[in-house]
């Protein structure tokens, strides 16, 4: 009996072609984006979205067209940080003219992300559904010409891996940590994964500096990965804090 790869007749379903068309759509849509930067951390609660939104605003104030894709599908916060109306159609225009897309545009106020489908063993398909949503955010938004598209990733590395698959390459990465050793250890794993995927490390943003949180996570990671600490963000940053970070990217 012949095996799968020995059956070469044209397939009317053309599932492979459909997947290829999806990838092509993303590639065409992002062709006018000069640079894609993933803002990531292996740790939750370090301020990735806060850094993303303020960095985007600072870049926009420099006169550059900037977009933000809120890849935290289950906890979208970018619309709030950029003060985009909940009902805005994507790409919504936020503070300082930053364009953004978020799952928050599609959900009712305060509602959790839920998909229609069989509840039993939903873990089997939910990940694929989220990856498809991410693909649509990348490929269906009329971003236009952008200097930088910032991708605000959720904690962990699953979304980053999905991004690499959808984009067909590993995006440059800006890493966010807080000073603590616990954050350092979690972020280290994420940075290793990013390096293994081939991402360019743009630097480390050490957030929430100068308060109760003690440690040297930023310097430790910078030394280990040979990438600079591009910003140390205090508890009450000024616009100048973000301007200095923007000037380094």
């Amino acid at each position: 009996m012949r095996t799968y790869h020995q059956l070469t007749d044209p397939d009317r379903s053309g599932l492979g072609d459909q997947i290829g068309a999806q990838r092509q759509r993303v590639a065409e849509r992002l062709a006018a984006v000069r640079r894609i930067v993933a803002v990531m951390s292996g740790k939750g609660g370090v301020g990735k979205s806060y850094v993303t939104a303020n960095l985007a605003r600072a870049l926009a104030r420099m006169g550059k067209p900037i977009g933000v894709l809120d890849a935290d599908l289950n906890g979208p916060t970018i619309p709030g940080l950029l003060q985009v109306p909940h009902t805005a159609q994507p790409p919504a225009i936020g503070l300082d003219g930053v364009k953004c897309i978020s799952m928050g545009h599609f959900l009712d106020e305060g509602a959790p992300l839920a998909f229609k489908g069989p509840a039993a063993e939903s873990f089997v398909w939910r990940g694929a559904m989220e990856a498809s949503a991410l693909r649509e955010f990348l490929g269906d938004v009329e971003w236009g010409s952008l200097d930088v598209l910032l991708l605000d990733l959720p904690p962990g590395m699953q979304r980053y891996s999905e991004l690499c698959d959808i984009l067909g390459n590993a995006p440059a990465v800006l890493t966010v940590t807080i000073p603590t050793p616990e954050s350092r250890d979690a972020v280290r794993r994420a940075m290793r994964a990013a390096v293994e995927h081939g991402s360019e490390l743009l630097g480390i943003v050490e957030n929430m500096v100068g308060g109760e949180l003690k440690g040297s996570a930023g310097d430790d990671l910078a030394a280990e990965f040979g990438t600079p600490v591009v910003a140390r963000v205090p508890w009450h940053p000024t616009p100048e804090t973000w301007n200095r970070l923007a000037a380094q990217l």
């Binding site: 459909q18 229609k116 559904m129």
Partner: protein, 133 residues
């Protein structure tokens, strides 16, 4: 996924797709040599997995719409219970009320239903074999 007519050693060709409306899918494939037809039947979970990839078995018949998957599959609008449905639910013995409520809520969620009414509960009971709940 491909289908082979073992007797003819021929790759079977996609013939028809049918969606039953209960989350399942049927697709038929025909041997171009002997004409034998087989049907592939997928359960709701398998159907959902295919849908989540944003592809269609049998090929696309209409162009892709922006945010097609998100619009079609993300639940919008929180689930509500009509007054009559709440009253009926209150008559369920308290020690099983929670699980009964979840069964109806899951049924509604799977079908994109945003309000549970006594009629929806009747339909769910019939479909799920929950007579007495």
């Amino acid at each position: 996924m491909k289908f082979l007519c073992v007797e003819c050693d021929q790759q079977m060709a996609f013939a028809e797709r049918a969606l039953a409306g209960d989350g399942t899918l049927a697709a038929t494939f025909k041997c171009p040599k002997c004409g034998r037809v087989v049907a592939m039947l997928t359960n709701p979970m398998e159907t959902q997995l295919v849908a989540s990839l944003g592809v269609e078995i049998g090929g696309r018949t209409v162009p892709t719409e922006p945010f097609e998957m998100v619009h079609a599959n993300v639940v919008t609008g929180s689930l509500s219970w009509s007054t009559d449905a709440q009253e009926r639910l209150s008559r369920v013995p308290s020690f099983v009320r929670g699980i009964v409520k979840k069964i109806y809520a899951d049924y509604a969620k799977e079908r994109g239903i945003t309000e549970i009414t006594p009629a929806i509960m009747d339909t769910a009971r019939a479909e799920l074999g929950l007579e007495g709940m």
